[in-house]
């Protein structure tokens, strides 16, 4: 039975944290931040949700298979962007040397491959950090009378 105060406040805070983390990831090439900081912020939103409503509610939407697939998809996207640059005629993981459009500096969809790589790294950092936390926090054997996944 989740706590009433915690449940009310977290239901306002968690979407706000996710939107802020997505903002930091997408504006990585315009303001301080980038893939790593934004990924950590989104993972902390997941941690708050898991601590408030139990791990089983999170696992109903994001179980281990989904987290593992998103993790691998992030790294695969990173390497495919690099290989696409190799096919286009530049070197591995090149930006303007392979013909990615630089755009107008200061706009959201500028700077070629930089924001694509940032988004891939943001997804990978999010899933890895939340996966580590969930695996660490659920490895305790359950005490008698308490169902698994509920906060003690």
């Amino acid at each position: 039975m989740p706590d009433l105060i915690l449940s009310t406040i977290a239901s306002y805070l968690v979407p706000l944290i996710w939107v802020y983390g997505a903002y930091v990831i997408v504006h990585g090439h315009l303001s301080p931040g980038g893939g790593f900081a934004g990924g950590t912020i989104i993972a902390s939103g997941f941690v708050l949700a898991a601590l408030t409503w139990g791990f089983d509610r999170i696992r109903a939407g994001f179980d281990e298979n989904v987290l593992g697939t998103a993790d691998t998809a992030g790294v695969l996207a990173y390497v495919s962007i690099g290989l696409a640059a190799l096919i286009r005629g530049g070197w591995f993981l090149s930006n303007l040397g392979a013909g990615y459009p630089p755009g107008i500096p200061g706009r959201l969809f500028s700077s070629g491959a930089v924001w694509l790589l940032g988004a891939a790294i943001g997804v990978k950092v999010t899933t890895t950090l939340y996966g580590l936390f969930a695996r660490l926090a659920e490895s305790q054997p359950a005490r008698e009378g308490q169902p698994r996944g509920e906060p003690r």
Partner: protein, 92 residues
């Protein structure tokens, strides 16, 4: 007895590190070893060469993008090592 040895070791290591740190150039001056021509190239040519306004992101994702790939590998290795040690979550 062990506490005395630990305190002596920590004081010795701290003193050696501080003596070496005092030999560095002062904090905040534009000195030669940490600002060479690479820094000038990274700051001035980040916007024309990559199109990114933030030059730290331009360094991490364009000039040194291969190191970021290595860091993604380190994250994967940590997750795999933790999963190998802890095992799967038992659902009972």
């Amino acid at each position: 007895m062990r506490l005395l040895l630990v305190v002596l070791t920590v004081i010795l290591v701290g003193a050696m590190l501080s003596i070496v740190a005092l030999g560095l150039p002062e904090f905040g001056t534009a000195t030669a070893p940490t600002r060479n021509e690479m820094v000038r190239r990274y700051i001035e040519e980040a916007l024309p060469e990559t199109g990114a306004v933030n030059s730290i992101t331009a360094i991490v994702f364009d000039y040194r993008a291969f190191d970021t790939l290595g860091e993604a590998t380190v994250l994967f290795a940590a997750a795999a090592a933790a999963a190998a040690v802890l095992g799967t979550v038992r659902r009972d």
